[in-house]
């Protein structure tokens, strides 16, 4: 394989230091990835040598902390091809980022009767903020349907877009692995006078991201799924949109002036960052980006396609019709996230038995309840791959599935 996973595995302390009895076969990176030593070191080192609150501090460590924090913003901007660093907003996770857009842009631009177009494969993070606006403002929500092949059905897109003000679409489905044609959807949205927001939570960890090529207006991602720490995400937006939006949360840092009867917001990006930001977390995100860029995002994606190809092939060979894998059949057309049903055994039971073999897979609705209903299931089991996974991990999963069957039947 193009990626030297043996080397990569060495960089991840948890793969050696966890306290379980068996080697950890971590196949739940779509929920949250593990962290390389370099990310942990960067944060530790920051706290041990430099920590101080950012902005306004005149003394040396405060200036250095500010520079490190803003340097992380530079890296994030570069990582997603943002035209300007001031367009990169730090949030606590991508969920907050989408709420930011729904609140700051949505409340200023949406009226009762306006429509927002989403898809049937969205994560709750890109559903609930809009459902809340539906309740509060009386907007209407529509959904691009998903076909049985796991692809969005765009045949009716133009009709669906009629009267729509914003389209929200996941750039990579956390359940099906589907990679919707975001560019095409964004272009159609713009032609219909709508904006387009892409939820990149599963995309940016695995693919080269270029927000300009994607043609979207807003793009969010979350650090903990891409080797970074918990507690930080990024929302990117086109500068003129962010400029025209009212602020989201109020407090320190996001203001230029405060008077008893009013306030003046700060300039971008700080206008949208109220209170003390996740400083060490930004440093950690910067280190995660460094790590991914050193591997090369092309390599990361190639590794994933290869491993997914291997998984789809060997799992089908061994388990045949006992195993149903949802989503697109072609590894090159999907992310390395495999939701599956196995012999009618409940996903909870699968995950529990797999765990005895050290194999970690998620079981549940994966925060995509409408999609679960569409698939006609209450829950699925889900294995997802990342840079530290290899064919042996897939073999372990396959073997453990057989054991699960032996256990229950």
């Amino acid at each position: 394989m193009a990626l030297d996973t043996a080397m990569v595995k060495k960089d991840f302390p948890i793969l050696h230091q966890h306290t379980g009895e068996r080697p950890l076969v971590f196949l739940d990176s779509a929920a949250s990835s593990q962290k390389p030593q370099s990310v942990l070191d960067a944060m530790q080192n920051y706290y041990e040598t430099t920590h101080a609150n950012v902005h306004r501090g005149v003394y040396a460590i405060a200036e250095r902390a500010t520079a490190m924090f803003e340097e992380a913003r530079n890296k994030a901007a570069r990582f997603i091809g943002a035209p300007a660093t001031r367009e990169v907003l730090f949030t606590k996770n991508v969920t907050e980022g989408i709420n930011l857009v729904a609140n700051a842009w949505g409340r200023a631009n949406l009226r009762a009767g306006d429509s927002v177009l989403l898809t049937e494969i969205e994560h709750h993070a890109n559903l609930v903020p809009w459902l809340m606006l539906k309740e509060q403002l009386g907007i209407e929500l529509r959904y691009i349907p998903v076909g049985d092949d796991g692809q969005l059905d765009l045949s009716d897109l133009d009709r669906l877009l009629d009267g729509v003000k914003l389209v929200g679409v996941t750039a990579l489905s956390n359940v099906l692995g589907t990679i919707p044609p975001v560019r095409r959807i964004a272009d159609a949205a713009h032609a219909a006078g709508a904006l387009c927001l892409a939820d990149g939570a599963q995309y940016s960890p695995h693919m080269t991201t270029d927000v300009v090529e994607l043609g979207v207006d807003f793009f969010g991602f979350t650090a903990h799924k891409m080797l970074g720490p918990t507690g930080i995400g990024v929302m990117w937006g086109r500068e003129e949109l962010l400029e025209s939006m009212p602020p989201f949360l109020g407090g320190g840092e996001m203001i230029r002036d405060v008077r008893p009867d009013g306030f003046t917001p700060n300039e971008l990006p700080w206008k949208f960052e109220a209170g003390t930001p996740p400083i060490a977390e930004a440093v950690g995100l910067g280190a995660a980006i460094d790590y991914l860029e050193a591997l090369g995002m092309e390599q990361v994606r190639r590794h994933e396609v290869e491993l997914t190809t291997y998984a789809l092939t060997t799992l089908a060979e061994r388990h045949g019709d006992d195993l149903t894998i949802y989503g697109p059949a072609e590894a090159s057309q999907r992310g390395g996230v495999l939701s599956f049903a196995y012999k009618g055994i409940h996903p909870h039971d699968i995950s529990q038995v797999l765990d005895q073999a050290g194999v970690c897979v998620r079981a549940g609705h994966h925060c995509a309840k409408p999609l679960m209903r569409r698939l006609g299931v209450g829950a699925t089991a889900r294995a997802s791959f990342y840079v530290y996974n290899d064919e042996a991990d897939v073999d372990a999963l396959s073997e453990a599935l057989t054991n699960t069957s032996d256990f229950f039947f």
Partner: protein, 163 residues
């Protein structure tokens, strides 16, 4: 924690051959739905109450081995019992399950309660086969699976009492 602590043989038996599976005509039977939003499990309890007795009870729905076997065992334990006996069983069962549930919900006082105290609240009640589900408390995420049908039954009894 060994898997066998969770999946005792009797649990797997109830899972493979669920008792009282099916539906009752409703009305006259009372139909109550229970739902575990975390995993999508659904249980439907059909309840015939005559006077102060649970004369018949059926279970429908779908879920994992723990929720299915717990519902099956519950149906066997409750059918034919008086309302008071059924309620005592519910209390005893939820008492057995509550240790880690409280802990997860964050009640530190209850966190360290020993297993000996489990059924202290309902000393009269014999849980019998149901004690096989005791291993679930070591797997906190699964507790809600085990208690789903019991909470649903309780809701049914409560509704019956007020209407």
């Amino acid at each position: 924690m060994a898997l066998e602590d969770l999946y005792r043989e009797i649990i797997l038996d109830h899972y493979r051959s669920p008792r009282n599976r099916g539906e009752l005509q409703s009305p006259p039977a009372r139909r109550v739905e229970g739902y575990n939003p975390l995993c999508g499990d659904e249980v439907v309890v059909f309840l015939d109450v005559d006077g102060d007795k649970v004369t018949d009870l059926k279970i429908a729905g779908q879920g994992c081995s723990i929720s299915q076997s717990s519902a099956s065992m519950m149906s066997a334990a409750v059918k034919g019992k008086t309302l008071a006996e059924a309620r005592a069983l519910i209390r005893a069962f939820k008492g057995m399950m509550s240790i880690h549930e409280h802990r997860l919900d964050g009640d530190p006082e209850n966190g360290e309660a020993g297993e000996g105290e489990i059924a202290a609240t309902e000393p009269e009640v014999k849980l019998g086969d149901l004690e096989a589900l005791q291993g679930v408390v070591k797997f906190p995420v699964r507790i809600k699976c085990a208690t789903l049908s019991w909470n649903t039954l309780q809701q049914g009894l409560d509704e019956a009492a007020t209407t």
